[in-house]
Amino acid sequence: MSRTGIIIACILMAAVPYFFASGYQLFQLTLVVTYAVAILGLNLVTGYNGQVSLGHGAFYAVGAYTTAILMDKFDVPYWATLPISAAVCAGFGFLIGLPALRLGGLYLALTTFALAVAVPQLLKYRLFEDYTGGVQGIVILKPDPPFGLPMTGDQWVFLFTLLVGIVCFVLSANLVKGRIGRAMMAIRDQPLAAEAMGIDIAMLKTRTFAVSALMTGIAGSLGAIAVQFVAPDAFGVPLSLTFFVGFVVGGGASIVGPIFGAIFVEFIPNIADEISKAAPGAVYGVLLIALMFLAPGGCASLVRKAAPYMPWNRKTG
């Protein structure tokens, strides 16, 4: 897509809050952006690098708690918690990645799954209770719009989340189309050849894992600010699986994929609920399977197929 196209899309997205009177719809859109960033993180490691993670909810949790604790216990302004949260999550991801990536394949999937199972319980652990608030979690305050901007708190939170989200997407898009991104994909496609081209597989995988955890951690921070509340049970195994579903639905190794994935995981459960109050899970399952039939390879593959026919690409396609 052309650069101007992207800029126009960004402005349109930023204009959205003025057209949505309802605070709840705005909140849902904020969560879509948040999830998109989280799924983007997962896509870097699983889609581009081929390392299956079923535990990215854990990194989301660490990001969310870092922000909540900093705001609640240390009076750090919400925006200043983001870089700290990013650093903490990258460090956490790196440490987890060091031993986990040696396993590879299904064993890595299990290891990360174990992480998803363990983290909520660790957050309840009595020793950390002074900071984490134990089972109760932490309530944080909604940030006010800065510089007396004429908007509501919800509108500002949406704009702030969108801004951070756009930065995350631009940085990731740059990363995957350059030297490092190609190396990530080379390892996924053909590790032996990648090594022969001079790629240090262990190092690159571990760093990719750290960057992935960083992205998903920032999403956790954004989520905490939007929801104004963190509690251990919100970050359990279902959240990790939600990210994984969003990743698959959106399409692997794609930058736009996570946006579609996030829209799916945010809105489809509600739609399923409206279709059948008795068995929303079954409806969700059917919708998921239907989508996999209609768009094998995820939504991103549909976008890729349609791209040559789009007006801005006609000349090349």
Partner: protein, 262 residues
């Protein structure tokens, strides 16, 4: 310093055992600069094992391989490209989901050093690296006649084309020695002829040596300056193609022992 050495690679007494089986029993030879060196031998003679020892895929149990003044023994595999060893694979090991161009850029990975942050921010360094690699890439597209498929995903290309992509991917890394593992495998007669021409053209255009492991006799004899013949993990002949072709041990290894039958 290293440039003053007459030979580019010296293999000294390399032995490789798999359990009780001796795959290489003390092989020694040199590869000179700008030389095409053919490595031949019947199936199971140890050519591929030797190839894998040089490329770091196997760890030889004895002996040493010194490449351009640096011992390859014990080097991690991802260091080999940086030391000047480029290679192709027996059954083609391309990055299937990536385009020809992207595959080639990966071949230049070891020449760059920009990391995650510089790439995410698209700072000057990754851009400069990509520009430099891109220049060589364009030339290689022409030399290897790959321009028409430059932006095609390699997984769908015919086998012969994929082999050329592998060559291009190895060459963009500016190797001092290009290691080819059975490049003629799976090619038809005409394609083998084209390959021979191409290999000579590559040697002419780049300052490099080629180590050619190959079954295909006529190809090896046609392009090599020097041929080394292996049998049962031992070197049985080492010399010009003519010398090796007429060497009694080589004839015996390939055609069977006729003197005893008589």
């Amino acid at each position: 310093m290293a440039e003053s050495l007459p030979h580019l690679m010296r293999v000294t007494d390399v032995e490789m055992r798999f359990g009780g089986i001796v795959a290489l029993a003390g092989v020694s030879f040199d590869v000179e600069r700008n030389q095409i060196c053919g490595l031949i031998g019947p199936n199971g003679s140890g050519k591929t094992t030797l190839f894998n020892c040089i490329s770091g895929f196997y760890r030889h149990s004895r002996g040493d391989i010194v490449f351009d003044g640096v011992s390859l023994t014990g080097q991690p595999r991802h260091r080999m490209a940086g030391l000047g060893l480029g290679r192709t694979f027996q059954n083609v090991a391309l990055f299937r989901t990536m385009t020809v161009r992207e595959n080639m850029f990966v071949g230049a990975h070891h020449l760059g050093s920009s990391g995650f942050i510089a790439n995410a921010l698209r700072l000057g360094k990754p851009r400069a690296e990509e520009a430099a690699d891109g220049e060589r890439l364009e030339k290689l597209l022409d030399l290897l006649e790959l321009r028409a498929v430059a932006d095609t995903v390699v997984g769908g290309l015919p086998f012969g084309w994929q082999k050329r992509v592998e060559l291009a991917r190895a060459l963009i890394g500016q190797p001092k020695m290009l290691m080819l593992d059975e490049p003629a495998g799976g090619l038809n007669h005409g394609e083998v002829d084209e390959l021979a021409v191409l290999l000579l053209k590559i040697r002419e255009n780049f300052d490099l040596s080629i180590l050619l492991v190959e079954h295909h006799m006529s190809l090896v004899m046609r392009v090599s300056d020097k041929v080394i013949a292996l049998e049962f993990g031992q070197k049985i002949a080492d010399g010009t193609p003519d010398e090796v072709r007429s060497h009694p041990e080589v004839i015996r290894a390939y055609l069977g022992d006729t003197s005893h039958a008589a």
